[in-house]
Structures are given as structure tokens and as C-alpha cells.
Symmetry: C2
Subunit: 435 residues, 2 copies
């Protein structure tokens, strides 16, 4: 339905597309400022992406990592929210085109994050599983459990093996966390759940195109994570790329083939940029080029923060890494700068303060780089847990997540191995068994 969302026109209207880390931080920092904020998102909740892999492997409820956006901002008077897809922007008319109509803005902030990047390989995209949203993580969970159930009843050896081979593509933090999590499931949980399966038949592979895992982290983190994974039984293959996958056999660049029904793709991301911007403002990886104030190149009233934005500088020739702290810090800085722009004051350039990075590798290990400090092992795991908990929005979710984690830790158990909605690739309709 066509609908102009009308507002009091006393204050400038700031439209924020995307309720991710960046969008939320920006909106929060504009509380009590003389602006009208309208946030648009295709979901009515924020997805805490760092823990998606735990939902996919049945260690966390989906709801624990989803934060209803209306609830986050219920006490902020200058904030309004609408659930909608945003398809395009028309800079000449200062409107965005959405499924609920055209919405005009005084300032537009694109904070749409990133999508999974299959690098144009359509067949691989069709047959593998991505994990960027909660529905995708739940589909992954269903698929894994369904394939385990199916492995019990098939008689063909090759088919059984392919149901029990799990191939994770991409050795960044997501791939490391996912493969580590699957290895734990295999070692600590599945033997009790599936006593008739020979657990040794389950194989977890991690395929990485460069020569090391966690390339963005220190050498120490890279080598330790590989060591941890291999100790957990993951087959780590570096310097290998995926050439093809047809739903049954995955072909690697050295000619090797693996029979598998389970390919989990975490090998790349691309910016979720809006249509309507001039093509010369879109950089490599589908990210929109912004200046040091996060203003889109060539635009006066359009900004971009987070994964979707690329701030090209000497230190960051490809933009900043697509991680949460970048989005959050850019949101904070942009909130100040927007006010300065409105008051014709001098804005301040963005400077990223890298507080470090970490990745979990299994139940009680993580690798952490903070400045020059590097540590791994159980202590790292506690640091990781603490940091993630503190960043969770809302006390209730912190508590539920904490309960789940503590339970998992002390009981070697995964609490929520549920096939709620049966996943079916062929038709992508609700499988009749999914009632």
C-alpha cells in the first residue's frame, strides 16, 4: 500500500536503514536530540550474529539472540520503527523506495550490513547453506538433524557417508566456530543421541583458500586455532578452494572430491548496498565508498556505516574489517557528526580504535588478540564469553544465554537439538511433515 509516513516537520528526519550494530548505536546516541529518527528493517528484531553458529548447532535458542527493535527503543521518544524491505534510494528526490511506500528523508543512513557472498557461483549457492540470519541458522539446524536421522535408515553406504560428512567452507571466525562446534557435537553429544550410528563415520572438514585460518588475526591465533581444531578431530585443509558443488559431491581445487549433503558456506561476504546510488560509489565487495565522516562519496545527505561502508584510507585501502566494533564506533561518531552537519559545524574524522579480536574454537577454547597481547585456551574462552554477554542487549537475554552456556559447559550437552520446521531445498515450501 502506498503510504507517506507523515511526521511533524519541525525536526530533521533521519532515516536509518538497518537495525544492526551500527544502526542501533547511531539511533541510541541521537536520543534526546532534536531529530526525528525513523528506523527501517526487514525484521522486527536485531540479530546478534556472533552467536548464530550456536543456534545452528543447537546450543542456543534462536530467540536468545534476537532482540525486538521496538523493545530496545521503547523509551526513546524521537524514535519510530517500521518493518519493511528497502529496495532503493532516489537521491534526487530524497526518498527511499520500500514495500510500504516511498519514505522521504532529510538525512539517510545506510546501515544494512552484509550478505553472504558466493562470488557468482550459482550452483554452489543453490546447494549450500549460508548462515547470516536466524531463519538460515534454523534451516541449518534442521538440515543437520534431519540428515543424521536419515543416515540411520539409508542402506547405501555412499549415501550414508555423504549424510555424515560436514564440509565448512571458509576459515574465518565463522567457519572456525562452526566447524569447532560440529566437532564438539560429534564428540560429546551425538554418541548418546544416536547410539546406533558409528560416530567415527561422522567427518567434519574445514576448507580455507589462503594458507592459514583466521587470516585477520595474529599468526599465533591462526596456528593455535588450527591446532585446537585438529585436536578436536576437524580435517583442516588450507590452500584449497571449492570449484563446484552439485548437492552430492564437492570438488576442491586440488582435484579432491568429498561426498557430502552438508556444505556450510562461510567463505565470503558482500555489502548489502541499496539500488539507486551511482555505480562509481560502489567499491569491491559491493560496499559503498564513504569519506572520513562516513558520508557517501558525491552525496550530501546520504551516509553509510558498518559492513556496507568502505572508508578507503592509507591504513584501510579496502575499508575497515566488517566487524561489530567498527559499526558501533562509526555509529557513535556519526551521531555527533550529523548534529554538527545540521549546525554547520566542523565534523570530526572517524578513527577506529581496534580493541582486539577473538574467535571461539570449541567448548572452552578461544583465541584472542588484544593489542600486542595474545592468549588462547580456557582463559580466552572466559574472556570471550564475558565480552559477548556484556554486549547483549537486554538483561533477560543475557541471563537466558548465560544459563544455556553454563548448562552446556557443565553437562557437555546441547540443549536445543530440535527440528522445528523441516528444511526442504527442493520446493522451499512448508514440508507436510513440518506440522
Amino acid at each position: 500500500m502506498e503510504q507517506q509516513t507523515t511526521y511533524s516537520s519541525k525536526f530533521p528526519r533521519i532515516v536509518i536503514v538497518g537495525g544492526g550494530f551500527g544502526g542501533i548505536e547511531l539511533a541510541k546516541r541521537l536520543k534526546n536530540k532534536e531529530v526525528d529518527i525513523l528506523m527501517l528493517d526487514r525484521h522486527n528484531y536485531h540479530t546478534f550474529q556472533p552467536l548464530l553458529y550456536q543456534v545452528a548447532t543447537g546450543g542456543l535458542e534462536a530467540d536468545s539472540i534476537a532482540f525486538p527493535l521496538r523493545k530496545i527503543f521503547k523509551n526513546q521518544n524521537n524514535f519510530t520503527f517500521r518493518v519493511t524491505n528497502v529496495d532503493a534510494v532516489d537521491p534526487s528526490r530524497k526518498v527511499v523506495i520500500t514495500s510500504i511506500g516511498e519514505i522521504s528523508y532529510d538525512y539517510l543512513i545506510i546501515a544494512t550490513g552484509s550478505d553472504t557472498n558466493f562470488f557468482g557461483q550459482k550452483e554452489i549457492e543453490h546447494f549450500s547453506m549460508a548462515m547470516k540470519t536466524i531463519p538460515e541458522a534454523l534451516n541449518l539446524r534442521s538440515m543437520i538433524l534431519q540428515n543424521l536421522e536419515e543416515a540411520l535408515v539409508v542402506t547405501d553406504i555412499v549415501e550414508k557417508r555423504s549424510l555424515l560428512n560436514f564440509v565448512v567452507v571458509g576459515g574465518g571466525p565463522t567457519g572456525v566456530e562452526l566447524s569447532g562446534s560440529l566437532a564438539e557435537l560429534k564428540k560429546h553429544v551425538l554418541p548418546k543421541d544416536y547410539p546406533e550410528l558409528s560416530i567415527e563415520d561422522i567427518n567434519v572438514y574445514l576448507i580455507e583458500g589462503s594458507d592459514e585460518l583466521l587470516g585477520v588475526m595474529s599468526d599465533q591465533a591462526s596456528s593455535k586455532s588450527r591446532l585446537f581444531l585438529e585436536e578436536m578431530g576437524v580435517n583442516v585443509y588450507t590452500n584449497l578452494r571449492v570449484e563446484a558443488y552439485d548437492g552430492n559431491v564437492i570438488k576442491l581445487s586440488d582435484g579432491r572430491e568429498i561426498h557430502t549433503k552438508n556444505v556450510l558456506w562461510s567463505a565470503g561476504v558482500k555489502g548489502a548496498v541499496l539500488e539507486g546510488l551511482p555505480p562509481e560509489t560502489i567499491a569491491r565487495g559491493n560496499r559503498v565508498i564513504v569519506d572520513e565522516f562516513n558520508r557517501v562519496e558525491g552525496q550530501e545527505y546520504i551516509f553509510a556505516i558498518g559492513d556496507v561502508a568502505a572508508q578507503i584510507t592509507e591504513e584501510t585501502p579496502n575499508g575497515h574489517p566488517g566487524v561489530a566494533p567498527v559499526a558501533i564506533q562509526q555509529g557513535t561518531q556519526l551521531a555527533k557528526n550529523i548534529i554538527r552537519f545540521m549546525n554547520n559545524e566542523q565534523p570530526e574524522a572517524f578513527k577506529y580504535f581496534d580493541k582486539g579480536s577473538m574467535a571461539t574454537v570449541g567448548r572452552n577454547k578461544a583465541v584472542v588478540d588484544i593489542g600486542k597481547i595474545r592468549f588462547q585456551g580456557i582463559f580466552a574462552w572466559f574472556v570471550w564469553m564475558f565480552v559477548h554477554l556484556m554486549s547483549l542487549v537486554g538483561f533477560r537475554n543475557k541471563l537466558v544465554t548465560f544459563v544455556n552456556w553454563v548448562w552446556s559447559y557443565f553437562s557437555y550437552d546441547r540443549g536445543t537439538r530440535l527440528i522445528i520446521r523441516r528444511f526442504s531445498r527442493e520446493s522451499m515450501t512448508e514440508d507436510p511433515m513440518a506440522k
Copy 2:
């Protein structure tokens, strides 16, 4: 695929169809007995149905009321489990026909529970929402939230009203709990979430065909629950039936019409009986007639317990009520009787020990009948909470549910108001916005 599930034939094979209250209790009581148990269920988890209405109104995570069946029985050696639909039984060959092939049994226990009963009214069935499974409860949650979002953007007054009218059909415990829950949402939660909506435009109706709510409970419970609901703002209409519903307007038996997009159907259940039994063994409400040992009439090796079974006696001319304690007690008794049957010993007739019934009516009220004791109000609510918690399988879920409840109680808040998968009736395919 056709597959005979093979087992050691030393012990008799007991096939239990259904992992509900009855099936689980029966299987548990047969631990360490000289039998081979095979449980079949279309889901890989048990659904704790009494709390489904909380999932539907965003007060509880779905995973909190779902208990993976493999996990429940991981320490029981004589228990095996398969996820499958069971379509029919062939008593002459002693096999059940399932999606994973034919499975032979020595003893068959039908414990499939009940389905929603629309009494043959196909149009009503198509356009209204049932709530017997977790996917249904999640669809209901999505629909409620989607309609609230839509109400913000529509301009047509009638359409807006119909999006904000919620009609619950059926004044039994489920209908009472659902309508009470919606009224709470309206009063305590939605004003903060949707400040632009005029909350007075939201209406909750409860339609009941007989002259009182909670007809199976005491008169005191019936009248108190009506009083509580009306105080909470629910429009309670008794002695009214639904004549028709076309997705826009619901027609009641007194000629009244309500414009609504939200019809929640909890007005009847019918047994989920298997095909293949002689029609004369099926009673009113699609329940299979069993004797005092829960053996299906005219069968020697087929039994039925719980909602799907009707034990016709003088005191129970229509069988026992379809409640959890009946299923659990029948499961316990049948476990003993099965062993007696196998040893040619005299079985013992089932006797239902009615420990009472209760229904919640909103955040901190419930109505409880225990024997001659009747009480209502806040104390009743604590009793209800305690009983439900104690019956929850698994400590972890108890804790997570408890955390949610305590949070909800102290903060007047519903934690999980999430549209994870967009509900779309027209196509029943994954809506592209559901990514």
C-alpha cells in the same frame, strides 16, 4: 525409502506411536524391562502443549517447551527412536506403514494425541489459526505481530480495525489462556512497543458456544475466570457459535459480525487416530475405543492411551478428558499391564485419579480445582506455575522457563516478540521477506 528396521528378536518389540505425555511415560516405565521399544514421532521432540499459548504471544521461547526425544531417553538402553510420519496400521500383518517403510511390531501402542477439530467447516479451517504444535504457535506469533505492524501503515479505517480485532473461539482452558494473554499484551506491553497505535482500538473477543467458560471445571472456576477476563478487558460472549469466517468477517450465531484478520481457533479437538482400524472401533471425536486395559476393542496386540483413546465406562461415557494426567496415568498402568500380558498374568483395570485441574487467566491469576478445594487469584497462579515447572522434562528447560516467567512477572514484559519467519497464508511458502 523402503527399509525394514531390524532388531534383535530376543525380546518382544513394542512400537509406540507418539512422543507425547502418554508415550513418554509408557516408554520410561519400561526401562530395564525385557522389551525392545521403538518410538515413532513426526517431530524429533516432545511438545509441552500447556505452554504453547505463551509461545504464541511472545512470552516464551519455542525451544523452552520442546524436549528432544533422543535426549530424554539417552540413558535407556532398550529404547530406539525414529522420526517419521505413521500413516496406517495393518493389524493382520502386525505392521505400521510409515514414511520410512513398514515396521513390524509385537505390541503396538497408539499414543498420537489429538488434532484441532474444525467440525468439517473447511472455510473456517482455512482462514483461522490453530495452536496445537510449535510451528502453529510460531505462525500465530508472527501473524499477530505482522498485523500490528500493518495496522500502523494502513489508511482504511475498517481494515485497520480488522487488523486490531482478535477473536478467540472456544472457552476452554486454551481459549481462556490465549485471550487472557492477549489482553495482557494489550494492556502492559503494546503501548510501549507501538506508541503510535491507539491501544483502545485493539479488541480481544472470546466466543464460547455453551453458557459458561471452562465447562469442565467447577462453577466457581467458570464464573471467576469470566470475571477475571472481563476485568482485563476481554469481550466474553457465551451461548454463541461461529457460523462462518471468510478471512475478513466472522459471523456469529446471533447474527453479529466482527471485522477481523485474527481468528484463533481453540474450539475443539479430535483424536489423531491411525488408518487401518475397523470403523466400528472409532468413537465420537475420532477417538479409538479401548477397554479397561487400554486395549483397542477387538484387537489383541494394539493398545491406545491418552487423547486418542476413549475408555467408555459408566463414569466416563465419552471417555476420559483429554488432559495430560490421564495420558500419564494410562501410560504408567499400561507399562505394568503389557508385562502382565506377556507373562499371561491378569492385568489390572485403569482407574483415573483426578488430581484436579487449573487454567491461567492472565499474568498472575489462575483458577484451580483440586478435589473439593477451589481457589483463584494470585495464590492459584503460583500453584499453577509450580506444577507446570515440576512437570517440565529436563532441568535446563525448567530454569530457562523459570527465568522467562520471573522476568515477565517483574517487568510486565514479554520478551520474545519476534517475527522470525513471516507467516503468509496465501501461498504457504517462505515469504521473501522471511530471509
